[in-house]
């Protein structure tokens, strides 16, 4: 009898320990995800993970692990891009007027680790709509935009009617707040807070029914759009 009680206690303790360990691991992973995305609150992140889990049926720990993997991949690409532009900021270049309304641009980021580059959409051939942290979605003249060396101007392979609709939709989002959450932004609301790549991705998803995220996953990053098979580069800024 004594032996049974002793064994049961051991099993319970082991299970309890495992639960604590799993919980601690989960917390560490969440903390890591937060570290990779400064500006995102724990509540915002947890809510987005729960929402993605409900949408996809995937367990939350798998969503967290995938998000970390995607963010780390972006960081590796940022480093590679930075090496190509010789380390220091070289962002003293200007965009050109676009070929079409609804064309998009991508600029490498001047700093590492947070933005993963930046993208925007031409509302007209001479004005840009973009989502920025300070003021959400804004409008600015094309030649008022400072970009880094190797920034690209691209057109999306769809009809001009759909490009127009995508640009008009993006402009309609002016006033939306910025979200620092890239990790799960494919699953967040099209009409809520958003970052630069989410603005473009939502515009073309909703108005042209195409997915301009080159690699799918949970997050759509500026480089994912730049590398999409739906877009074609027609000018590289040098």
């Amino acid at each position: 009898m004594k032996k049974i009680i002793f064994t049961s206690t051991l099993i319970l303790l082991a299970l309890g320990g495992a639960t604590v360990n799993a919980s601690e691991k989960g917390n560490r992973e969440i903390e890591k995800l937060l570290e990779l995305q400064p500006g995102v609150t724990q509540v915002e992140l947890q809510e987005s993970i729960t929402a993605v889990s409900l949408q996809t049926g995937l367990p939350e720990d798998e969503i967290i692990a995938t998000s970390i993997k995607e963010l780390e991949e972006q960081h590796t690409l940022d480093l590679k891009e930075k090496t190509q532009t010789r380390g220091a900021s070289s962002g003293n270049f200007t965009l050109s007027k676009s070929t079409n309304k609804g064309d998009i641009f991508y600029t490498p980021s001047s700093t590492l680790g947070i933005q993963h580059g930046h993208s925007g959409i031409y509302f007209t051939k001479d004005s840009i709509i973009e989502s920025i942290p300070s003021s959400g979605v804004r409008k600015i003249a094309y030649n008022s935009r400072n970009v880094e060396k190797n920034a690209v101007m691209q057109t999306v392979n769809t009809t001009q009617t759909k490009r127009n609709a995508a640009a008009d939709w993006a402009k309609g989002r002016v006033g939306d707040k910025y979200s620092y959450n890239f990790a799960t932004n494919r699953s967040t609301s099209h009409t809520g807070d958003k970052n630069c790549s989410k603005l473009l991705w939502s515009a073309y998803t909703l108005k042209a029914s195409i997915d301009i995220d080159s690699n799918g996953g949970l997050g759509v990053y500026p480089k994912d759009i730049k590398d999409s098979s739906y877009v074609k580069t027609y000018k590289t800024i040098k």
């Binding site: 007027k97 933005q115 920025i132 003021s135 804004r138 003249a141 008022s144 002016v174 040098k238």
Partner: protein, 351 residues
């Protein structure tokens, strides 16, 4: 109790609304040039700085940055903005007066002085009613204009703008004056918005006419607006310049001197159009590296000064002489040695 409350309120008002004087910087009396640096606003945390260049090169003020921020100099005071504040640096005393604005602003538009009053203009974005807002700040007041500004300029006592309302098929030409502590706006007239035609660069005032570069039929032309008659004219300058060669908007790349509309392209070609005889003069290529953005101060009429970037992305200040179009190097500024970052958004010669 009421007295105490009033004192506290008064102190709060003092700290939040009125002028705050910061710690004195060192005095760089020899400063000849001032440069405005800022991050662009897609960064997570933005910073900026204003740098004085004289016998020594130093940061006179670290700021929160402002995209398209500008500097103006008046009576030895160097004035500039960041996302939260207006600053006026007294170069004689080495002190900076800081004034907090009512709203945060993230994109500069124009900055000038009318009747000794600094007028700050920002591209403020859409309001809650979905209307576009350009905000003017003066004294402790603001004026909101529901237009996206395509171009702005000034003469001795007025500002001018060409603005665009949402879904409108014409631009609005306006004049602003600062009188009796208020800004008054007069709509001078309109010009049609035509497909594939674009306004380029700042407004330049000359003899009651407003000029700005204009793209039509894939060519660079000149838009002339007569303030008296409200009539606009497109002048074909017969210039063979690529549309791709339009410079950065804060470059100050257009100017009028001696009846001649002058501008510099992003590849360093200097064009001069004689407004009296309606003819294009010889084109000169300025022997400088124009591969990055540049900024011009035309203040010294016959020898304007240009800030360009060199291969190391340091700043090179050079002058060119209208008599022979020769370039003279004045100063090389190692930006990396300063604790500053971001892009050069404005540059002014001390006066």
């Amino acid at each position: 109790m009421i007295h105490k409350k009033m004192t506290v309120s008064f102190l709060l008002i003092l700290t939040s609304i009125f002028f705050l004087t910061s710690c004195a910087s060192s005095i760089n009396n020899s400063a000849s040039y001032y440069l405005y640096f800022s991050d662009s606003m897609e960064k997570f945390k933005t910073t900026g700085s204003v740098v004085s260049v004289g016998d020594k090169i130093e940061v006179i003020r670290k700021t929160g940055g402002l995209e398209l921020g500008r500097i103006i100099i008046s009576n030895k005071n160097i004035m500039f903005n960041d996302v939260n504040n207006f600053y006026s640096f007294d170069s004689k005393k080495g002190e900076t007066v800081v004034k907090k604005r009512k709203f945060n602003e993230f994109t500069g538009q124009y900055f000038s002085i009318l009747n000794e009053q600094p007028i700050q203009v920002f591209n403020s974005g859409y309001n809650n009613q979905g209307q576009y807002v350009t905000r003017f700040y003066f004294n402790n007041s603001t004026l909101e204009i529901n237009e996206f500004m395509k171009s702005m300029g000034e003469n001795a006592d007025s500002l001018f703008s060409i603005g665009e309302e949402d879904n409108s098929d014409y631009y609005i030409i306006s004049q602003y004056k600062f009188l009796d502590d208020e800004i008054s706006r007069v709509k001078l007239g309109t010009i049609p918005i035509n497909e594939d035609e674009y306004i380029i660069g700042d407004i330049i005032y000359f003899n009651n006419l407003l000029y700005t570069l204009y793209e039509k039929d894939n060519k660079i032309q000149l838009l002339e607006y007569n303030i008296n008659s409200s009539k606009s004219t497109i002048i074909d300058m017969d210039i063979d310049m690529s549309i791709e060669d339009i410079p950065f908007s804060n470059s100050n790349f257009t100017y009028i001197r001696e009846n001649i509309f002058t501008f510099i392209s992003s590849i360093g070609n200097l064009y001069q159009y004689d407004l009296t005889n309606k003819e294009l003069l010889d084109i000169h290529h300025l022997d400088l590296d124009f591969s990055s953005n540049f900024i011009i101060d035309w203040g010294l009429e016959n020898t304007p000064i240009i800030a360009t970037y060199n291969d190391n992305q340091d700043i090179l200040l050079s002058s060119f002489d209208f008599n022979n179009f020769k370039i003279k190097t004045l100063k090389e500024i190692n930006v990396h040695s300063l604790t500053t970052s971001g892009h050069l958004y404005d540059f002014k010669v001390a006066r």
